[in-house]
Subunit: 131 residues, 2 copies
DNA sequence: GGAGTGTATCACATGTTATGATACACCCAT
DNA sequence: ATGGGTGTATCATAACATGTGATACACTCC
């Protein structure tokens, strides 16, 4: 699927994963990297749905997940906003990172890698990515 | 779900993931860690199905994935065997590890972590796991 | 030939994901 | 107060993945 724009946001959606998950991840990423300021109003359910060529229900699903995780605050009748709490954002970021690390180490362990061997693989990969 | 034994193998299956995926992963892990020798015959589709309280079709699905990935060789009428090629096993192990590393780094990057920060998180996590 | 293998193909059920449509509830500016 | 823009709830429908249960076939070895 091509890249879709809505306001200053850019979305790239494909079919390898649930669409609502991708929406959540792309907001998470943008917020955590500081590309969206805290407190910002994000597109309405209907607006984003139209921009992404997707049903409002799908966007709704994503927005509900984002509120549950504390990434956004929704004000009925007004819209959905990125949380204004820097602490909330940091907390979410740390939590997501911790989960990712834990799952990764578990997987590597299952494959029989540990300690230095893991670091070496990461360094190799980073060397490939950023030569 | 409790732990199930069949021969010298131990299986722990839950419902958080597709059953056939878990079967594949547990064979991968056992082989890669050397807990199953190469060339070994693994349980028949029906036998493992009975042991895990699962349909033969589900086990079949797992076994077909394992053959596609090169982990096993199936001989019709005889059974399914762990590949006897050490090289094949090493290759699979490296490939799975590379995929895991790549996905992990991508995820961490989306969260705004890179380089040393990632190493720090891993070390923290390992410290927690093995004090 | 029979027992034990893998393989193929049904029908069926369930849960997730997504669509499409409709209606309601709330807030704010006019 | 009314209207337009919000989020929310609910329905029917569909496609797909996963798993069950059953049956039949093909192959290998004793």
């Amino acid at each position: 699927m091509e890249e879709r724009r809505v306001g200053s946001l850019r979305f790239r959606i494909d079919f390898s994963q649930p669409i609502y998950e991708q929406i959540v991840q792309q907001f998470q990423s943008s917020v955590v990297k500081g590309e969206i300021e805290r407190g910002t109003k994000i597109p309405s359910v209907r607006e984003l749905a139209q921009a992404l060529h997707v049903t409002p229900n799908t966007v709704m699903h994503a927005y509900q997940e984002m509120e549950r995780s504390g990434l956004t605050e929704t004000r009925r009748g007004q819209g959905t906003f990125i949380t204004s709490s820097q602490e909330q954002i940091e907390q979410l970021r740390s939590k997501l990172a911790a989960v990712a690390v834990r799952e990764f180490l578990q997987k590597m362990n299952d494959l029989g890698y540990s300690g230095q061997a893991i670091f070496r693989l990461i360094q190799d990969e980073e060397r490939d990515e950023t030569p």
